[in-house]
């Protein structure tokens, strides 16, 4: 379970959380790419071919700025890339996230160990078929 050397896009509209996530992941040797909404994240993903996973908040401002939209759009282009959605609003969020094509869903506040393990596991999985 070592994420060192991986490339991950992190998305959250709360700058405080985005900052600590970036610091934590970089401390673990991860190359992070930060976005504060889904639209920005999608553009970032399109410009970053080596990106191995996306970790995104669900509720973010903008008409198509939320994590659900982001997941759908990413899935249209790439069915394999791991997308982990996280949200503080638990009710029905997981179902929505999974239906949109998310690889995994975590409730805020999440355990970093769990998040690291989830991302690592998803990255190491061979693409299906």
């Amino acid at each position: 379970m070592n994420l060192s050397g991986t490339h991950i896009i992190i998305v959250d509209d709360d700058p405080g959380l985005l900052e600590v996530m970036k610091m934590y992941l970089e401390m673990k040797g991860v190359h992070t790419y930060c976005a504060t909404n889904g639209v920005q994240a999608y553009d970032l993903w399109r410009k970053t071919p080596g990106c191995q996973a996306i970790v995104s908040d669900i509720r973010m401002p903008g008409e198509r700025g939320d994590g659900i939209h982001l997941t759908r759009r990413v899935r249209e282009m790439d069915v394999n890339i791991p997308v982990v959605l996280i949200s503080g609003y638990s009710e029905g969020a997981e179902e929505t996230a999974m239906a949109a094509g998310a690889s995994a869903y975590l409730n805020k506040p999440f355990e970093w160990k769990e998040l690291e393990a989830t991302i690592a596991e998803l990255i190491q999985q061979k693409p299906l078929g």
Partner: protein, 721 residues
């Protein structure tokens, strides 16, 4: 009063007026008649007196005739002219016999003796001149032998009056009867122009001692006649002075026709023979008819006028009196009927009223006690009116307390009793406060009693009126409403909280995630020694700061959920209210991609209960959120504007307004357009209640095609220096 009664009264008054006028007319007519009768009576008397005077004057000539006969008798029937003159002188030439020309003597001379007589007579009196009035032949001549005074009667001396029928007949009548006799009207020789003259005869006999009454003896013994000639003008000239000035008269000889007729201006009454007085006078054995009438009495027109004036005056008084009487009677009837109506109406109002209505006189004795009073108190009107005071159904403790309050307030001692109920009403016209009525069976009833002073037209107090509302139902209802309202507010809050839950969870979970992240990082950093001290300190600071952020959110939630209606008004800035509100709900908007902008005078400060205002703002934002979350354009603008007297908050969203059919209803409780389970329909009505309690206004407008809700909070009035 009905039409029939009015008509009857009208006819009756007309009848009374007509009868009254008739009576007055009759009375004044009678009075006039009576007065005229008096005049007539006096006229009657005056006429009779005139007739008497006339007759008496003629008859009085007999005295002169007797005197003349006396002279003949005493001188052996042959007095000398000198003797006669002497006698006449003695009799003052008969001046006292007014109207008479003089007195003389006529001798009967047989035809055979005529020449001898004439001769002797001429010798005796040279003035004697025998003449006749006709050539008729008679056995006897009746010759005027003497007449005194001669001057006035010269044509008569020597005249044979027997030669003329009227004279002869009268003389012979006197002879036969022995009584005075007068001729029919004749023309006198002394006054040939006078229409009516008379000779009056009184016979003289030589001897009447034997059988004097026999006509034969009289004829045989006749010497002659004393006689007096007079004209009616002369006679009347004398008597006229003694007559009433207004008397107009005629004198007729019954056998020979008119003697005298007075010409005078006669009024209509003279055409009516009834108005003529008539009397028959027998003078000198002739029947004279004396007719007279009176020219109008000068008083009669006056009487007529006075009668008319009296009639008009009395009639007017009568008419005025009758009209006034009936008008008074009508208006009195009308007034009585009106007051009856008013009384019935009053009774109906009193009995129909749901309020207890009790009136008293000035001393407190009950004068009115209506049905509602009886129902509330259990006393019957009969056992209260005129007997008791309101003290019997009041709580003495309350009365004593209120008397003490009033004593302080009015600055004089108010005795605990009836005075406590009316003291203020007397000074300020009415006094309204809550009291406890104690019924006959001890039931206590809360009432709101308004005591009013009843004043007459001169503003003097004549009693007091107490109108009391039974508050039992009102209090019950008020309690129910309060309870309901509290429930509604609570429900609304729960609903709002439920709607917030999602956002709040995220609001809290996000900072929790930050805290957890920092904690994890610190742990990893310590373990791997990759973090320096500064970085670790920074992490701890971040944890602390984020924990405070959570604390603030929770504090906001707590203050929002508790009952804030009893909070005191405090000074608070608009910015603080808005930011605290947004802190609780911004996540919901963010989730739906709705942008929120805040503009305007954010530093405006207002006196309010901030939590309540925040609740209103939250409600308006929530409504905006629900209305626009599915539109393509999603924005909400909050603006604050200050005017001189209030602070205005507006919440505008990108929606296109509220349909006209709903505009009226949006402020009503339980009105909602949201799907079942999403809204209570209480938000706006409660918000309106809150703004009302701040004396502000909450209203909806369509501004530039967008939905806009505004509310105003009035500024505290500045204390003038």
């Amino acid at each position: 009063m009905s039409y029939i009664q009015r008509k009857t009264a009208f006819l009756l008054s007309i009848l009374i007026i007509v009868v009254g006028i008739a009576v007055i007319g009759f009375a004044t007519f009678k009075l006039r008649e009576f007065s005229i009768a008096g005049i007539v009576e006096s006229e009657q008397l005056a006429f009779s007196r005139a007739a008497y005077i006339l007759g008496d004057r003629v008859r009085s000539y007999v005295h002169g005739l007797q005197g003349m006969n006396g002279v003949y008798l005493t001188n052996d029937f042959r007095p000398s002219p000198q003797q006669l003159t002497k006698y006449a002188t003695y009799r003052d030439n008969f001046k006292n016999f007014e109207g008479a020309f003089g007195f003389g003597f006529i001798r009967r001379v047989a035809a055979k003796d005529l020449q001898a007589y004439l001769q002797s007579r001429r010798q005796m009196d040279p003035r004697f001149n025998f003449r006749r009035l006709s050539e008729k032949h008679y056995d006897n001549y009746y010759i005027i032998e003497s007449i005194e005074p001669y001057d006035k009667n010269a044509p008569a001396l020597g005249l044979d009056i027997g030669s003329e029928t009227a004279r002869r007949e009268a003389a012979e009548l006197a002879m036969r009867t022995g009584l005075n006799a007068i001729t029919a009207p004749i023309r006198l020789v002394q006054s040939p122009n006078a229409e009516a003259g008379f000779l009056s005869f009184l016979p003289l006999y030589s001897d009447l001692s034997t059988e004097p009454t026999l006509v034969k003896a009289k004829t045989q013994h006749l010497i002659g006649w004393a006689y007096v000639p007079f004209t009616v003008e002369g006679l009347i000239k004398q008597v006229r002075q003694s007559f009433d000035d207004r008397l107009v008269f005629e004198l007729h000889d019954a056998d020979a026709g008119e003697i005298y007729k007075m010409s005078a201006k006669l009024d209509s009454r003279f055409h009516d023979p009834k108005n003529w007085y008539e009397e028959e006078l027998v003078v000198g054995q002739r029947r004279w008819r004396f007719r007279g009438a009176f020219t109008p009495h000068p008083l009669i027109p006056v009487l007529n006028f006075l009668g008319l004036v009296a009639f008009v005056f009395l009639s007017t008084i009568h008419i005025v009196w009758v009209i006034n009487y009936f008008r008074l009677k009508l208006s009195k009837d009308e007034t009585t009927k009106k007051s009856d109506e008013i009384l019935s109406w009053q009774q109906a109002v009193l009995d129909g009223s749901a309020y207890s209505i009790i009136s008293t006189d000035t001393t407190g004795i009950i004068t009115t006690f209506n049905k509602s009073a009886a129902r509330i108190l259990g006393f019957r009107a009969e056992e209260m009116v005129g007997l008791k005071t309101p003290g019997v159904f009041h709580d003495p403790v309350e009365v004593t307390e209120y008397a003490a309050v009033l004593s302080r307030e009015l600055g004089r001692t108010i005795e605990p009793g009836f005075e406590a109920f009316v003291a203020k009403a007397r000074d300020y016209d009415s006094d309204t406060r809550n009291w406890t009525y104690i019924g006959k069976d001890g039931t206590r009833t809360q009432v709101r009693l308004c005591v009013t002073a009843i004043r007459d037209q001169s503003k003097a107090i004549i009693g007091y009126l107490g109108v009391a509302e039974d508050l039992t139902q009102v209090i019950k209802l008020e309690n129910e409403i309060n309870e309901q309202r509290l429930k509604m507010i609570a429900a609304s809050k729960m609903s709002a909280l439920g709607e917030m839950a999602a956002g709040v969870a995220h609001e809290i979970n996000n900072p929790l995630a930050i805290i957890v992240s920092w904690a994890s990082m610190l742990r990893e950093g310590i373990k791997s020694q990759k973090l320096n001290l500064e970085q670790m300190n920074d992490g701890i600071d971040r944890i602390e700061k984020t924990a405070h952020r959570i604390g603030k959110i929770i504090a906001g939630l707590r203050s929002f959920s508790r009952d804030s209606s009893t909070d005191s008004m405090v000074d608070c800035s608009a910015e603080k209210i808005i930011s605290e509100t947004l802190e609780l709900c911004s996540e919901r908007f963010k989730e739906r991609g709705i942008s929120i902008s805040v503009t305007g005078d954010l530093h405006a400060s207002l006196m309010c209960r901030p939590v309540e205002i925040s609740q209103v703002l939250m409600n308006l934002l929530g409504n905006a959120h629900d209305a626009i979350c599915n539109l393509s354009q999603k924005w909400v603008k909050i603006a604050v504007r200050e005017t001189t007297d209030s602070t205005i908050f507006t919440v505008t969203d990108s929606g296109t307004g509220i349909p006209d059919t709903m505009k009226e209803k949006i402020m009503q409780p339980f009105f909602t357009t949201k799907e079942v389970g999403k809204g209570t329909g209480l938000g706006l009505s409660i918000s309106k209640g809150i703004i009302d309690s701040h004396r502000g206004r909450l209203f909806y407008e369509l501004v530039d095609g967008h939905t806009q809700f505004s509310f105003t909070i009035p500024k505290k009035k500045k204390q003038s220096a």
